[in-house]
Assembly symmetry: C2
Homo-oligomer: 245 residues x 2
DNA sequence: ACAAAAGTGTTAATTTTACACCCATGC
DNA sequence: GCATGGGTGTAAAATTAACACTTTTGT
């Protein structure tokens, strides 16, 4: 399979194409940012300072930048998500993990106008989580325990979006390398286990988890790192994620 | 969690909101329709009769209808997919299975203008598949064996879209009830097995599949239907999908 | 009778789960 | 020494996989 070529006819047609013949929706990205703070899974909420839903909590996000000409079509939706995340969190670097979840496209989800939103979930390291809270006005951005979300009323349909992101996060922690984005650059087996436990809010058998971990090691997904982690008791071996693959 | 209420301030703000302040992308749906014909997995391709990519093959799809006012915001993206599917296949009924896969939002994927597409995959019963082929001009719509897709050049980025839909289809056949949408209203164990085999292009052990099947039966997912299927050899018991759950 | 395909039985291999226990270290 | 938590061993239970075999029917 390969993409078909554009013909001369195509080129001529495109020249005279009238792009504004039909009404268009606005398109936004919304991002559920997760991290672990104090051994609890948290997500980032932003207090809106504009109507609608002014002073209500919402997921970080914003409009996808669409270019103004045929030649300049603007940024990709994925790029928009990465950009909004940087802007809203203040973190200079790209997120460790960013994945599209789904498009949310019911009419009237925004009372102003037709808005279709593409939802993403992002994972950032625990160490960086506190930076955000410190760096921004706490009344503007806030880490919320996911177990406390039931009590919150969120703007728009962000409740459904968040719930879809949470489901996807759990699936990815089980079946992909996502969990490694929720520990530090280097980590011990118990630290990684804690992430799995917190995401599923369920205790895991230490021995059995260790075996799973060792299988990842054999598969070259993780490798031993120099040094030991000093804890209150017996120091634990330190590993790192093998970025190479 | 519940949706926050709109305040009076919101209402006032919305009144004077200027929706056309920023350029917007066009939003389309593209649908990979799958069925099984002659024991092979096939997907529906449409020959475009307009530029760009005129006379090239593409996935069925079209623009999401966006309303023209705040009060009329048009159809949901899911509804757009169902509508386009009905229109392009000519099938009067709703598809047996329709699921969103992902949004495709790179710039320049359409040379005319910025277009963001939400991809879906749909499953229809084998018996209906031939209806479509008969009902429409064969040069316009065509069932293509998925194993032959490598040879085809598809319009836009429909190759990536199709590939994502195929991956999702395989996942769903394994872990959800999707496979039941690819057999007739009633079916035998070997018929359902054939679907699994064709989707994964891999033979399955008849005995082991039977055990899996019987587990579904115990779980109430499927139930025995009256009658027997007359085949070339020993007649097989007929089952049906328990829609109830 | 024979071929073809439905349906059954058996067993090995693998994975999951539960749980007991050992061991190194800081206090 | 003793509590803590890292690290190891073992065995039952459940699932998956491989394959031989029996039964029922059309021709």
């Amino acid at each position: 399979m390969s993409r078909a070529r554009l013909t001369d006819e195509d080129a001529r047609f495109i020249e005279k194409y009238r792009p504004d013949a039909y009404p268009r929706p606005a398109v936004t990205v919304d991002i559920a940012v997760f991290t672990v703070i104090d051994a609890r899974l948290v997500t980032l909420l932003i207090k809106r300072n504009e109507a609608p839903f002014r002073n209500q909590w919402a997921l970080p996000g914003g409009f996808v930048r669409v270019g103004t000409s045929r030649k300049d079509q603007g940024e990709s939706v994925d790029d928009a998500a990465a950009r909004e995340l940087r802007e809203e969190t203040g973190l200079p670097l790209d997120p460790t993990y960013l994945e599209q979840v789904a498009a949310f496209g019911k009419p009237m989800r925004d009372p102003r106008m037709r808005v279709i939103s593409v939802a993403y979930f992002a994972l950032i390291r625990p160490a960086l989580g506190s930076l955000i809270h410190a760096g921004t006005d706490a009344s503007h951005a806030q880490w919320v325990h996911v177990s406390d979300l039931k009590k919150r009323a969120l703007a728009f349909d962000h409740e459904s979006i968040l719930s879809a992101c949470l489901t996807r996060l759990r699936e990815r922690v089980d079946n992909s390398n996502a969990a490694f984005a929720l520990v530090g650059e280097t980590f011990t087996i118990p630290e990684l286990r804690a992430v799995h436990e917190v995401v599923h809010s369920q205790a895991l058998d230490a021995g059995n988890f260790r075996r799973r971990f060792m299988r990842w090691r054999e598969d070259g997904i993780i490798e031993e790192a120099p040094g030991k982690r000093i804890t209150a008791s017996k120091p634990a071996t330190v590993y790192r994620f093998s970025q190479s693959r």
